[in-house]
Every structure is written in structure tokens, then in C-alpha cells.
């Protein structure tokens, strides 16, 4: 066999391995899905049953009617959407300020923001609770949303991306008499959709229900998603 043919067979083999690897990644999810259609005893049956004997579709209405599923679903969606919106807005604002303006202590602010990435949330659970209580946010949606509405990772991502946008874009708008917040809404935001998309996906991920829509969005926008991370370049 010629060297070239050997290489192409090798390539095909690697592709096959890549596809086979998907099995390892998705197996737990597949098992969860198949178990969701099994009877209780089938789940632990031996030898293992990868597919239910007879799909128990009634499991779904049963689960949905147990507890106030509708309320939980609504709560999760609302909180996830609000946290995402907060992150998109505040992280892009801060990212723009840090990337394109000079002001005293800018670098210090940026470093201080990054240092919060080192902080496990549990460490500051009690003082955070006191802040939340001080703001009157206990026992309402605000208590779940506000503490998570800004994240240093998002600011970092947006800053790196906006840094690469040409300054001339901003200066031209300024010369044309556009106000500073006008520049942000009309020039900056429309030009950083890939980074905003990546940030939206990453902040929305803790909402269980978001999974399927997220998969669809990812399929269509993965180029933009990966580019969003690429361009926000982990280069300093």
C-alpha cells in the first residue's frame, strides 16, 4: 500500500475513534433518558437493559404532576433568564469600559475583578447572605438573581473581545456626534455578538431545561461560539 493510502486509512480510523468517543461522553445522558422510560425495577435489572422493555411514557406526566412542577419550571426559567440578562448587560458594559477607556486605577480594577475568580462561593456564603438580607432580597427572586448577575469570567471574556474591535469604529461614531452610551448600544454591542452568544450559553447552563434549546443554538452558532472564545483571545 502506498504511503498516501496508508495516511488516508489512518485518518479514517481516527475519525471513527472520534465518533466512538461520543459514546463515552453521552452514555450517562443516554442512560438517564432510557431510565426515564423504565419501570422502577427495570432500572436495576441484570443483565443491564439499555432500552426499556416497554417505554413507560406515563413516567413523564407522573413526574410533572408530583409537586408543583409548573412553579419550579417557571422559577428556574425566570431566574436563569434574569441572571443571563444581567451578565450580558453588566459584563459587556464593564468589558467595554476596561478595553477602550483610560481612567485612574483601571488596571487595578481589572486585576481585582479577576481575583474574584479564586473565590469559592461557599467561602463567603454567610456574609453574602447578610448582604442579600440587608438589601431586602431574602425570600424573593431577587435573592437568587442579584448575587449572580455579574461574573468576573464574563467581564474578562467581553474585555478581551472588545479590545480587538478597531478604535476607528468608535472614533468615527464619536466624531459624528454619537453619545457615549449611544456608541455602546449601536456600535459595540452589535459588533460583539459572538462573544455575547458564548457568554449567554455559559451563564444559562445551570438551568436544566435550557439543555435542548442550548443544543440547537449551539449547532447553528458553534462557529460564532468558538470564534467568540477564540477572538476574545486568551492572549493578553
Amino acid at each position: 500500500m502506498s504511503r498516501k493510502a496508508l495516511m488516508s486509512w489512518g485518518g479514517r480510523l481516527v475519525t471513527l475513534l472520534t465518533i466512538a468517543g461520543i459514546g463515552l461522553t453521552l452514555l450517562p445522558y443516554f442512560w438517564m433518558l432510557s431510565s426515564s422510560l423504565k419501570t422502577g425495577s427495570e432500572v436495576f435489572e441484570l443483565p443491564i437493559r439499555w432500552l426499556p422493555r416497554e417505554p413507560q411514557w406515563s413516567n413523564y406526566p407522573d413526574a410533572l404532576s408530583r409537586g408543583a412542577f409548573g412553579v419550579y419550571f417557571f422559577n428556574s426559567t425566570l431566574v436563569a433568564l434574569a441572571v443571563m440578562a444581567g451578565n450580558l448587560l453588566f459584563c459587556s458594559l464593564a468589558g467595554y469600559g476596561l478595553a477602550k477607556f483610560r481612567f485612574p486605577y483601571r488596571e487595578l480594577s481589572f486585576r481585582a475583578i479577576l481575583s474574584t475568580l479564586m473565590l469559592p462561593l461557599e467561602i463567603v456564603l454567610v456574609p453574602t447572605f447578610l448582604v442579600v438580607r440587608g438589601l431586602g432580597l431574602v425570600n424573593n427572586y431577587g435573592g437568587l438573581i442579584v448575587p449572580l448577575a455579574v461574573d468576573a469570567f464574563g467581564i474578562f471574556l467581553m474585555r478581551q473581545y472588545i479590545k480587538d474591535l478597531p478604535d476607528s469604529l468608535i472614533e468615527a461614531a464619536r466624531l459624528d456626534g454619537c453619545s457615549e452610551h449611544g456608541i455602546f448600544w449601536r456600535i459595540i454591542l452589535p459588533n460583539c455578538t459572538p462573544a455575547l452568544g458564548a457568554l449567554a450559553l455559559l451563564t444559562f447552563r445551570d438551568a436544566v431545561i435550557a439543555m435542548i434549546p442550548t443544543a440547537i443554538i449551539f449547532l447553528f452558532f458553534q462557529r460564532a461560539f468558538v470564534r467568540g472564545i477564540a477572538l476574545s483571545g486568551l492572549k493578553e
Binding site: G11, V14, T15, T18, I19, G21, I22, T25, L26, P28, Y29, M32, S35, V43, L46, P47, F90, L93, A94, Y96, G97, F101, R102, F103, S109, A112, I113, T116, M118, P120, E122, I123, V124, L125, V126, P127, T128, L130, L135, A152, I155, E180, F184, F204, R205, D206, V208, M211, T214, A215, F218, L219, Q222, V226, I229, A230, L231, L234, K235, E236
Partner: protein, 299 residues
């Protein structure tokens, strides 16, 4: 060019830009001050007090630090955390890079294959913990699969030798796609011409990888190293949901130790002192990595 008027418009362009930039950053800064820096300072202050959430805090000097230092559970927990951090992140560094290299190749159906690998990133942590808890059950999938190759039944999460490795496996499995995306983004930002030039100069795929890909990927590699260690250090939910720190504390990572001290034993001051030790550890580790990063010629 600018009409001289009182107020905002009356300021020089430079001063206005200075203020504008500051005002853009201000909301995020205020938020972080309220929800990150202030709690951090509070925790630091609290670490010198005895406080049980009921009666008012009493100043106790360094007593909490002494108590933490003399607590054998803290030492155990520190080493559990270290084992978990390196056990998860070192395999992640290599496997995530391998995944990114595979997904960067040309192949039919690439968008779908990438989707299959990356969409679990969007899965909720709680769901992941529950699914794996099910799978590690003595009658669960893991034992069934291993049973078919002759391995006996193991109660993975309740056995001292296997509980931590079981959690480490989940951490790795979950981290590979996440850091894989970041590596992939890094790989895509390397201009193709570099590899073409290397090929023309007679470099094989391996040489091209070592001498072109790796040096150009260095910033990404170091970012992944720092982030994977920090995120492994912060693990909390899996031990909470799956093992409650057991058996015999073999999965009691530091964040879980802190949580337990604070909310099960109501020793807020001691929990705060342990938090400070964890923070100092994270800080030192990151500093060392950044130092290495600078020595590696990457800034």
C-alpha cells in the same frame, strides 16, 4: 469642535472619556464590591471572632486559626482537596487538548460531532451529580459493565479506596469538553500559514505539533492550567450530593469542610478561618503558575 457649555458637554474630551469609561465599569464594580469583596472582608473579620449565628460574635484573636490547625479533619480535608485538584486537572490538560486536536481535523459531519461533545457543557451540575450517583449504585451501570469483564460488585461511593477516584472521574469527564472548547478556540486562532511553512521545511506532523502548535498555544495552555486547578479546588456540589464527604471523610474536600463547620456545627469563625487558608492557598498556587507563565515567555 465641541460647543462650550456647562456640565458634561463643557468638559474636555479627555476628561469626559475618563468619566465615561469609569461609569461603564462602575455597575459591575459595585456589584463585585457588594457580593465578592465585602463578603471576603467580612469573612476575614469573622475569622477572629467566635460566632454561632445566634448570639453576637465575640472577639477571640487567633483562636480560630489555632483550632483549625489543631483539627485533624482539616488536615485530612486539605490533602483530599489536593488529591482531587491534581487528580482532576492533570488528566484534563492532556485529554482536553487531545479532544480539541481531534475535533479540529477535517472530517464528515464535523459540526454534529462537535455538538455531541460540547453540549453536555450546558448540563446542570445537579443533574450530572444525580445521574452519576445512580450509575455508581451497587446495582448500577458501572458495576454491570465491569461485572461483564469479571470485576466484582463494588459500592463505589461507600468504599474508602474508591469514593474519591469515583468523584475524580466525574470531574475529568465533565471538564474535558469545557476545556476542549477553549483549546479548540486556541487552535483555530493559529494561522494555517505557520503549519504550511513547517511542512515545506520538511517537518512531519509530530515535529510541527511540538515546534509550531505547542509554542503558539502556550497562552491557552496556561489559561487552562490555572482555570482547571481553580475550578477543581472549588468543587462542592458533587461531594454534597453524592457522598456527603464520606466515607470517613475521604471525599471531604475543603469547601465541604468549610460548609460543614459553618452550617452543621455553627462554628462560623472557624469556617471563616478555614476559608482564609483556602483562599491563601488558591492565591499562592495562581501566583506560582503566573510566575511560570512569565518565565515561559508568555504574558
Amino acid at each position: 469642535m465641541f460647543r462650550q457649555k456647562a456640565g458634561w458637554r463643557g468638559l474636555s474630551l479627555q476628561t469626559r472619556l475618563c468619566w465615561a469609561g469609569f461609569l461603564f465599569v462602575l455597575p459591575a464594580l459595585l456589584h463585585l464590591i457588594a457580593f465578592k469583596f465585602y463578603p471576603m472582608v467580612e469573612a476575614f473579620r469573622l475569622s477572629f471572632y467566635t460566632y454561632d449565628l445566634m448570639s453576637p460574635p465575640v472577639f477571640h484573636g487567633l483562636e480560630n486559626y489555632r483550632a483549625v490547625w489543631n483539627n485533624p479533619l482539616f488536615h485530612q480535608s486539605f490533602w483530599v482537596s489536593v488529591k482531587y485538584m491534581f487528580g482532576v486537572s492533570i488528566p484534563e490538560w492532556f485529554l482536553a487538548l487531545a479532544l480539541a486536536l481531534l475535533l479540529n481535523r477535517r472530517m464528515p459531519g464535523r459540526p454534529l460531532i462537535r455538538l455531541a461533545y460540547f453540549f453536555p457543557i450546558a448540563m446542570s451540575q445537579i443533574v450530572v451529580a444525580l445521574v452519576w450517583k445512580f450509575m455508581y449504585n451497587p446495582l448500577g451501570v458501572v458495576n454491570t459493565v465491569l461485572g461483564s469483564v469479571g470485576v466484582g460488585r463494588i459500592n463505589w461511593l461507600a468504599t474508602e479506596e474508591t469514593a474519591l477516584p469515583a468523584l475524580i472521574l466525574i470531574g475529568i469527564w465533565r471538564g474535558i469538553p469545557l476545556f476542549g472548547v477553549i483549546y479548540l478556540a486556541g487552535l483555530q486562532s493559529i494561522p494555517k500559514e505557520y503549519h504550511e511553512a513547517a511542512t515545506i521545511d520538511g517537518a512531519g506532523p509530530w515535529q510541527s505539533f511540538i515546534h509550531v502548535t505547542i509554542p503558539l498555544l502556550m497562552p491557552t495552555i496556561l489559561f487552562v492550567m490555572v482555570m482547571s486547578l481553580l475550578s477543581a479546588m472549588k468543587v462542592f456540589l458533587n461531594p454534597l450530593v453524592m457522598t456527603e464527604g464520606g466515607p470517613n471523610g475521604t471525599t471531604r474536600v475543603l469547601p465541604y469542610f468549610i460548609y460543614e463547620t459553618a452550617f452543621a456545627y455553627h462554628r462560623m469563625g472557624e469556617a471563616a478561618a478555614a476559608s482564609m487558608v483556602l483562599f491563601a492557598f488558591a492565591f499562592a498556587l495562581t501566583l506560582i503558575q503566573l510566575r511560570l507563565l512569565r518565565r515561559g515567555g508568555v504574558e
